[in-house]
């Protein structure tokens, strides 16, 4: 038993729903009690989908438990097939139905339904949403893919994008364009917008592009093993990764490719002088493993940030993220407990967070700007405009995303110059955020901050003298917390009881980069 307040991932049957909802012509019969239908709103509200997810819930109640929930399941199955006439169905149990052990797979098998039924075994009490999506997609591919000849021209499949994926819609479009420039047609994109008939055609492609390892890797491995289709290991998020991806594809296909980079703006935007202020900004990166790995590289190599910590919430990616952390000389945080993430951020006091919606809230609390780079998603993560993450346009989008929460280059200098000006004071926040910028001493979520977070009180044994305290207030707010902590640590190390103006500047010199 573990106390949880907010979770990064839903239960595994929500992962199955992400696959079912992404597809067309597939129906999911879910053995579940009343209330589990809440998951529909994730798709209709967060993603603004204009169709109900293709899911029938058996909706059993307490009074059914003693009676016959198995019959209820069979009736729902028959109803769904009659009403929606799917090309194929997936059947499974949500967490409560798993406990009553009706065996949806076995029940559906005995019914002799007119279309294929794919049973799912998703252990609700040990696994989570990404596993559910990955496993569901794998089972669908395993059941439906048919041996066949390769297409005459070189083609590939794009595997992994699901409903509620982080920018999946635009990533598919950008990636399709990039591949087309390389002379490669896309055979099937799956699961997003694929029908069961499309799944059957997967083996016609020459290779697979694995866009989302979280939700497509099991299927990619299966196709590699059984249909001799290699799959790409690099996810093309960021400039370097996109170039590596192109190289990888060239190696697989043996076709050379001349890619037009004229639309790629990130490198010049990053070199131009206004970006100087980005140098060495200390960033903490947290999200799903794939996006974290991509953003660590972007942050260090393409933005010139200093990566002070990375981590992921999906345990399946723990190993690669740990290895990556070693490369970056930081410790990896593998956890799905947001309180641990919050504690790590507080301890590392980064100048910016690249994270999920959870970290955005943590950033609000701590007064640290945050850019959202990964699921779990929020209605804001489905912008109306085209905003992919992959490929060269993706890199441009990411550049904008990463600098948006920050105070602009020149503005940062002006803030330092005019910090006592009544309308240009340092607590005003970035000027392009209007009245909504998070102020460091205000909890934007409406609650009140625990006092310790406001402007952290000095350790009991160190006293700030008033001249030093005044000087500290003159330091711009976005570095003030760090200056305070550094100075206190310095004082502790030196065994000082009091912090004077001199101590402050000695500490500054000590920590100078």
């Amino acid at each position: 038993m573990k106390l949880t307040v907010w979770t990064y991932e839903g239960p595994p049957h929500v992962g199955a729903m992400r696959v079912a909802t992404a597809m067309k012509g597939l129906h999911y019969v879910l053995h579940a009690p009343q209330g589990d239908t809440y998951a529909d709103l994730l798709f209709t509200m967060i993603e603004r989908r204009n169709l109900r997810p293709p899911v029938s819930y058996t909706t059993f109640q307490a009074r059914d438990l003693g009676a016959d929930t198995a019959t209820l399941f069979k009736a729902s199955c028959q109803d769904a097939v009659d009403r929606f006439d799917p090309q194929a169905s997936i059947v499974g149990a949500a967490c409560t139905a798993e406990l009553i052990q009706d065996d949806p797979a076995g029940l559906a098998e005995t019914m002799g339904l007119s279309s294929p039924v794919i049973p799912l075994e998703l252990p609700s009490y040990s696994r989570k949403e990404n596993f559910g999506a990955d496993e569901t997609f794998y089972q669908i591919v395993r059941s439906l893919a048919q041996p066949q000849d390769r297409t005459p021209r070189v083609t590939c499949n794009i595997l992994g994008p699901t409903a509620l994926g982080f920018r999946a819609r635009d990533d598919v479009e950008e990636l399709t364009g990039l591949l087309s420039e390389m002379g490669i047609n896309v055979n099937v994109v799956a699961p997003l917008n694929a029908t069961p008939a499309d799944i059957a055609r997967l083996p016609a492609a020459h290779f697979n592009v694995l866009l989302s390892p979280e939700t497509g890797e099991a299927a990619a491995r299966f196709l590699e093993k059984n249909y001799d289709q290699p799959y790409t290991k690099v996810v093309p998020i960021g400039v370097g990764a996109t170039r590596d991806f192109i190289t990888e594809v060239v190696a697989i296909t043996g076709q050379s490719a001349a890619i037009d980079e004229s639309r790629l703006r990130l490198p010049w935007w990053s070199k131009s002088v206004d970006s100087t202020y980005l140098t060495g900004k200390r960033v903490f990166i947290f999200g799903d493993g794939t996006h974290v790995a991509a953003h660590a590289r972007i942050a260090r190599d393409e933005m010139g940030f200093e990566v002070v910590g990375i981590g992921c919430y999906n345990r399946e990616m723990a190993r690669p993220i740990r290895a990556l952390a070693k490369d970056y000389g930081v410790e990896a945080l593998i956890t799905d407990d947001y309180l641990e993430v919050e504690a790590a951020i507080e301890r590392l006091s980064p100048e910016m967070i690249l994270g999920t919606q959870m970290e955005r809230h943590i950033g609000k609390r701590l007064g640290i700007p945050c850019a959202v780079i990964s699921a779990p998603v929020h209605v804001q993560d489905f912008p109306a405009r085209y905003s992919p993450q992959v490929g060269f346009e993706g890199a441009n989008v990411i550049f904008d995303t990463l600098i948006h929460p920050l105070v602009m280059g020149l503005e940062e200098h002006l803030l330092t110059m005019f910090r006592d000006d009544f309308e240009f004071h340092d607590a005003a926040g970035p000027s392009h955020h209007g009245g909504h910028s998070p102020l460091p001493d205000q909890d934007a979520s409406g609650g009140s901050l625990p006092t310790k977070m406001k402007d952290e009180a000095a350790p009991d044994n160190v006293i700030w003298l008033s001249d030093a305290e005044r000087e500290l207030k003159k330091i711009p707010f976005f570095v003030r917390g760090k200056a305070r902590r550094n100075t206190e640590n310095f004082a502790l190390e030196k065994g000082l009881q009091e912090i004077s103006l001199d101590t402050l500047y000695e500490a500054k010199a000590h920590y100078a980069r």
């Binding site: 038993m1 949880t4 907010w6 979770t7 049957h13 209330g35 509200m45 989908r49 109900r52 609650g447």
Partner: protein
């Protein structure tokens, strides 16, 4: 005077009810925690359940209430199910940890879920045991918000019903007002009743545990929410008497609700008029403004919060709408009867749900406005129907006079929006 007249064509109380059983597109009772934890400021709601329960709680609110919320889920794991860990020992440990971290918590609700009910974790026993350990500082109660037993707002009912047995005894003749209302609305209600000379007024739930809510055979109680059937029964078991009335939505509902109490406490007609005249006039004016867009429009209610019948009464009688179908998850005559009496005959009254069949009826009827849950709203909008999310009716202050205009506005906004948007290409 001013008593609501029953409709000329008869009401709906005796109308045949279409009872349906099938897929239900509703939340489970856990959802009530979202508003209950804001209402009871010293309470913590600990759900004993699965990852699905935790995911529901963070999704249902639509936004995260990130200032550490006073609710959480003790997620059952494989070892709890396999009997490798004693669920009660585990629960004691989690509660101990929680209460030591949150000394501000004075009442703890252990909330049962589908999985905890199915594997029969005895939360009543756990609550009793934990109460002894943590008394007198913390009171521990339990109720079930599971989907196999409760629909959406029934979670609040189960929570309040769990508090009734521990209310102190009183012989005083007191008014007890039952149902969680936003503080601002509750204050308005208390001041209206106080101005009529009625008092003391006790509230369930009280904002804090130290409050002096008590119950006994001289207690009379009024319900502010139409989904409190079990609480109603629990209070009657303690000897209290229910004042049946239409629910306080709109001018008419609020007046009838207040009048039922005023009559019980012998308030004179003059006093009643003096206290209610001004806010009534304001309510009428506000409703008239907001309701312009609603006149002669049809409305279709999918079952959601059990507010459907009183709201249909308000929309038909005060906003000039026609009800096509009024669906409610459950209909209790003792609670919904007075509103059904006033609802003009005509609409199909339905109880329970088979969502696909009901969607077919809505598509045939093509109502001007469909009141439904969040899972259905966008798909129906995409089919060209205007919708109102039912959950907003539970999260927004809508009771009593001063909110009557806002209530009408909630329904008229989707129609107004439809009329202002000019998005189709010119012919």
């Amino acid at each position: 005077m001013n008593r609501p007249l029953p409709p000329a064509n008869g009401g709906c109380r005796t109308a045949p009810i279409l009872k349906e059983r099938g897929q239900r597109e509703v939340f489970c009772g856990l959802t009530g925690i979202i508003w209950l934890h804001r209402k009871m400021q010293d309470a913590f709601f600990l759900v004993v359940g699965s990852r699905t329960c935790a995911h529901l709680l963070q999704s249902a609110a639509g936004v995260m209430i990130f200032a550490e919320p006073r609710f959480g889920t003790a997620i059952l794991e494989e070892q709890d199910l396999a009997g490798m860990a004693d669920a009660h020992v585990e629960l004691d440990r989690e509660v101990e940890r929680l209460l030591s971290r949150r000394p501000d918590i004075r009442q703890l609700f252990l909330v049962g879920s589908c999985p905890s009910e199915v594997i029969k974790i005895d939360l009543a026993r756990a609550a009793e045991r934990l109460s002894q350990v943590h008394a007198p500082h913390v009171r521990v109660l339990n109720y079930s918000g599971s989907g196999i037993e409760t629909t959406f707002t029934e979670g609040e009912d189960a929570c309040l019903a769990s508090m009734v047995p521990v209310l102190k005894d009183t012989k005083e003749r007191e008014l007890l007002v039952v149902g969680a209302l936003p503080d601002v609305v509750e204050d308005q209600m208390v001041s209206l009743l106080t101005d009529m000379g009625i008092g003391p007024i006790r509230l369930l739930p009280a904002r804090r545990i130290d409050d002096t809510t008590a119950v006994g055979e001289n207690t009379v109680f009024a319900l502010t929410q139409p989904f409190l059937g079990d609480t109603h029964a629990a209070l009657e078991r303690r000897g209290a008497r229910h004042l049946a009335a239409p629910f306080p939505f709109g001018d008419e509902g609020t007046t009838a609700w207040l009048r039922a109490i005023a009559v019980e406490f012998g308030v004179s007609e003059e006093t009643f008029e003096a206290v209610t005249a001004a806010p009534r006039a304001r309510a009428r004016k506000a409703i008239a403004q907001a309701a312009e867009a609603l006149r002669c429009k049809s409305v279709f209610f999918f079952p959601d919060s059990q507010l459907e019948i009183p709201l249909a009464r308000f929309l038909t009688r005060e906003c000039g709408m026609t009800a096509v179908e009024v669906g409610s998850p459950y209909i209790h005559d003792a609670l919904h009867g007075p509103d059904l009496d006033l609802l003009p005959a005509g609409p199909q009254i339905s109880e329970g749900q088979d969502v696909d069949k009901q969607l077919e009826r809505a598509r045939v009827a093509r109502p001007d406005l469909t009141v439904c849950g969040l899972g259905l709203a966008n798909p129906l909008e995409a089919e060209g129907l205007s919708t109102k999310w039912a959950i907003e009716l539970v999260f927004t202050p809508v009771h009593f006079y001063e909110q009557a205009g806002d209530l009408a506005g909630l329904f008229s906004r989707p129609l107004r929006r439809k009329s202002v948007l000019q998005l189709e290409a010119a012919e």
